[in-house]
Symmetry: C2
Subunit: 203 residues, 2 copies
DNA sequence: TTGTATTATGACTTTAAAGTCATTATAATA
DNA sequence: TATTATAATGACTTTAAAGTCATAATACAA
């Protein structure tokens, strides 16, 4: 196996893999399908990528780099923590929705789910929802009773914010909201920022 | 294939699968290994579970039911939204740490990671950390400048809180904190509650 | 245009794990 | 104890996808 250096074909394979992941998910992704999607022979894929693992790694890392750069550029234009966070959240959400089918797979096909077939996936998601609703009821009664309206380390805070953004997207995906208007996206961003800055308490 | 109704053996297969998942993760779990772990023949596993999918589904759902019941019981003893949430968070964290190796697999072997080998997993986790640190820096400077210290739907709020708890655990797992003292667990619970109630802003 | 290097092909090999089933062992019953 | 029903076995079959490689096509250089 010699490594070939045709950047166009390399990118073709990457983008074909990406499209396939959007269409059929990770678990059904095979090297045969990748080759077929790219319109080349399977052997050719192996001229550009050592193995399937390397291909997946490149798909994920190139996607991440694009998103990260975009967010960094946007944030750099802002001053002050709140404005930076606000920009970061907006940009991140925009990016997720512009690549919604990719992120749908990334976010929803979690480990548990990936290894389950359709029916079991559904019951998995039902359980997730049951738990969320249970908490939802608590929150609701706290709101009704007028009760609701950091010592957090920075890196930990970062993880927390990322997870809120991701969770917001998952929530929308689970409720089949795939075509949000700019207003809905704006509202999501505000909700997340507000939660992260002020929590759910009143006052 | 006739279905056999020996509850002990059924549970034996479930617990063996669970142990295996803790030890080797989902991706390496095979029916041969399950049988070996349980000390029975592979065919026997199929007397109790239709297929691998059903086995995994039962492992996950039985784990969830146990956790959910435990949390419900604990929360039922409290009055008021804040107290209920506080109890819920504590109980959830306790449960996660009591079953830390199981949840480590569940939480860390996300879709992307599951299909990657060791080296690619590491770079995946590095990217996750890079992004978290980037946000961390923003938060840090906001704190330095004294800047930091809802309209959220209940169900969505529920998802958000679950994700904060999960993320807190992931953060500890990624930093190899597997044996937290009761004090550390208590601190985690407080941090999450505080974040969820008041956010990171000052005042 | 001829020879060499590079790139591409896809049939084939290998590997791995799911799922089956004829056979055997054990327990229950008469 | 003999007979039947239930449970267990593990070698075998099947399936699927990763990865290889001898051969062919194309681009490039002399």
């Amino acid at each position: 196996m010699y490594m070939v250096e045709n950047i166009d074909k390399y990118e073709l394979i990457l983008s074909s893999s990406r499209k396939l992941i959007e269409e059929i998910g990770f678990s059904a992704l095979t090297m045969d399908r990748v080759a077929q999607k790219a319109g080349i022979a399977k052997g050719t894929v192996y001229l550009y990528f050592k193995d399937k693992d390397e291909l997946l790694e490149k798909v994920l890392s190139s996607g991440f780099e694009r998103m990260f750069k975009r967010i960094q550029d946007r944030v750099a234009k802002e001053n002050g923590g709140i404005n930076k966070l606000k920009a970061l959240i907006s940009e991140n959400i925009d990016h997720i929705y512009e690549n919604r089918y990719f992120f749908k797979t990334i976010f929803l096909d979690e480990v548990n789910v990936v290894f389950l077939k359709k029916k079991s996936k559904e019951s998995f998601n039902l359980r997730r929802r049951r738990y969320a609703d249970f908490i939802g009821e608590i929150i609701k009664s706290g709101i009704d009773s007028g009760e609701f309206r950091g010592g957090l380390g920075p890196a930990k805070g970062g993880y927390m914010l990322v997870s809120l953004i991701k969770t917001c997207a998952i929530y929308n995906f689970l409720n089949d909201r795939f075509e949000p208007t700019p207003e809905m996206i704006e509202k999501d961003a505000e909700e997340i920022l507000n939660l992260f800055l002020h929590g759910i308490s009143v006052k």
